[in-house]
C-alpha cells in the first residue's frame, strides 16, 4: 500500500529486508539516514553497497506530493495539523516550514521530515480488559498510554469486540484525525463491525454536539482528547446519558494526575474506568485498570 507513495528504490529496499506487516514506523528526515521501526526497535537501512540509505529533501517532497495526491489544498486542513491519513489508516506526520497569517496557520511548506506510522489491527487485544469495561452497559473509560503504545489499536479492537459480542450499541466515532477508521471517500478502511457511525476530520466539539442530536448514539468513542479543550463536550455527552470511551497521552496514572482538569474528572467521577497501556510486551500491553476511585482492579503480572 505504500508502494504508490514511497520512492521506488526505498520501497524495494524496505520490502527486501522487512515485511510491511511487522513495520510500525518509517522515519525520513532530510539529509539523515532512513529509519524503520519494527517491534519497537529502530533499524537503519543499508543499500546494496552496504551504505546507510540517506534521505534527500527531494525524496521527502516527492513523498508528500504523492501522499497528498498532488493536491495539497485538498489535505491542507490536515497538513496544518501536521499529518495526512492514507489508506488503511496509515498516518503520515510531517514537519516543515509553517506559514502563518497572523495567528492562523495557513499551510506547511519545505517539508523537512515525515514519520509514516503503519497501524496494525490486533484482533482480541482488548479482550483482557473487556469484562472490566462492559457490564450491563459500556463504562465511561479513559485509555491512557504514551504515543505509539497502542491506544488506537485498543479502542479499534474494543469497538469490534462489542460487535462480535453482539452488544448492539450505536457507536459514534469522533475521529478527528481519521485515524481510528481511516475513511477514504466515505468508506472505512478498517473493519469495526456494523454498529458504527463515523465523523471524520471534524472537531470533537462538533462531533459530540451534532452526533448526540442527530445520530442517537449509545456510546461515543474518540481518540487523543485534550482535557482542557474537550472536557466540556465529554461532560455534555455523559450528562445526556451517552457513554464515552476516550484516549489520552500519558505514561501512567501519576502523569495523568498532573494534567489540567484531572481533579474535576476524579471528583465528578466522569470516568468509571482508567485503562493504562504500555509497550512493555509490544504496543497495546494492558498494564493496569483503575476504577473511578483509582483503585487498581487489574494489574499485569510481571
Amino acid at each position: 500500500m505504500l508502494k504508490d507513495y514511497l520512492d521506488r528504490e526505498i520501497y524495494n529496499l524496505i520490502t527486501k529486508t522487512f515485511s510491511f506487516s511487522e513495520i510500525t514506523e518509517i522515519r525520513m528526515r532530510a539529509n539523515e539516514n532512513l529509519i524503520v521501526v519494527v517491534k519497537n526497535k529502530k533499524y537503519y537501512l543499508k543499500d546494496d553497497n552496504g551504505e546507510f540509505v540517506k534521505i534527500s529533501k527531494n525524496i521527502i517532497e516527492n513523498f508528500v506530493r504523492r501522499a497528498s495526491e498532488n493536491s495539497i489544498y485538498a489535505f491542507n486542513d490536515n497538513i496544518v495539523n501536521g499529518f495526512i491519513t492514507l489508506a488503511k489508516g496509515i498516518r503520515v506526520g510531517m514537519c516543515g516550514n509553517i506559514v502563518t497569517d497572523g495567528d492562523k496557520i495557513v499551510t506547511v511548506k519545505d517539508f523537512q521530515s515525515v514519520n509514516i506510522r503503519i497501524p496494525h489491527v490486533v484482533r482480541n487485544c482488548s479482550l483482557p480488559a473487556f469484562d472490566y469495561l462492559v457490564n450491563e452497559d459500556v463504562k465511561n473509560t479513559l485509555v491512557i498510554s504514551p504515543p505509539g503504545s497502542g491506544k488506537t489499536t485498543f479502542i479499534r479492537d474494543f469497538i469490534y469486540q462489542l460487535y462480535t459480542h453482539n452488544i448492539s450499541k450505536n457507536v459514534l466515532i469522533a475521529d478527528e484525525r481519521n485515524e481510528i477508521c481511516s475513511v477514504i471517500n466515505g468508506e472505512p478502511n478498517i473493519d469495526l463491525g456494523g454498529f458504527c457511525d463515523i465523523y471524520t476530520n471534524c472537531t470533537k466539539k462538533f462531533a459530540f454536539k451534532n452526533g448526540i442530536r442527530s445520530m442517537r448514539p449509545d456510546l461515543i468513542v474518540t481518540d487523543e482528547i485534550d482535557l482542557e479543550k474537550d472536557l466540556d463536550s465529554i461532560i455534555e455527552a455523559i450528562n445526556c446519558g451517552v457513554n464515552v470511551i476516550a484516549t489520552i497521552h500519558a505514561k501512567d496514572m501519576n502523569q495523568l494526575k498532573k494534567k489540567p482538569n484531572f481533579d474535576k474528572i476524579l471528583n465528578e467521577k466522569f470516568f468509571s474506568r482508567f485503562v493504562v497501556l504500555s509497550s512493555d510486551e509490544g504496543p497495546g500491553t494492558l498494564t493496569n485498570i483503575y476504577d473511578e476511585k483509582l483503585n487498581c482492579i487489574y494489574c499485569r503480572c510481571v
Partner: protein, 158 residues
Amino acid sequence: MIKWILIIILVVAIMMIAYSVSEQIKDKYDFFNNLKQFLNEFKINLAFRQEKIDEFLKKNNSKKQFKIFIEEYSNFLKTGEVYLEKIKVLEDEDKQMLQDIVKNIGKYDAKNEINQMESFLLMVDEKLAKANEDKNKLCPMIIKLSLLFAMGLAILLI
C-alpha cells in the same frame, strides 16, 4: 477528360490543405478556450468542493487536442513526467507554459492555489486573444487565398 479530372483533384487538394491549416488555427483557439474554462472551473473547485486533481480531471470531457492534454496530465500524476509532444497545435513556448501549469497546480493551500490560477488565467487570456486574432484574420484569408490560387492554377492548366 483526364485533364479535367486532374484539375478538379488539384483544386480539391489545395482547398483541403487550406482547410486543414485553418482548422489547426481554430483548434489552437479552442484549446486555449478550453484551458481557460478548465482553469476557471478548477478555481471554483478550489473555492468550494476542493476535489483532488485526479478526480477533477476525470470529470473533464473535452474533445480533440485538449483531451490529449487531460490524458497527459493524468499520466503526469502517475509518473511525474509531462509529455506534450502529441499536442500538435501548440508551439514550444505554449507547451512550456502548460508544463509550468501542470507542475505547479496542487502544491499550495487553496488560497494560494486560487492566486496562482489568477496568474495562469492572465497568461492564458493573452494566448487566447492572440489565437482569436489569428482565427479571425488568418482563417478566412487562408481559405480565400488558396481558393484564388487554386482557381488561377486551374485557369492556367486549362
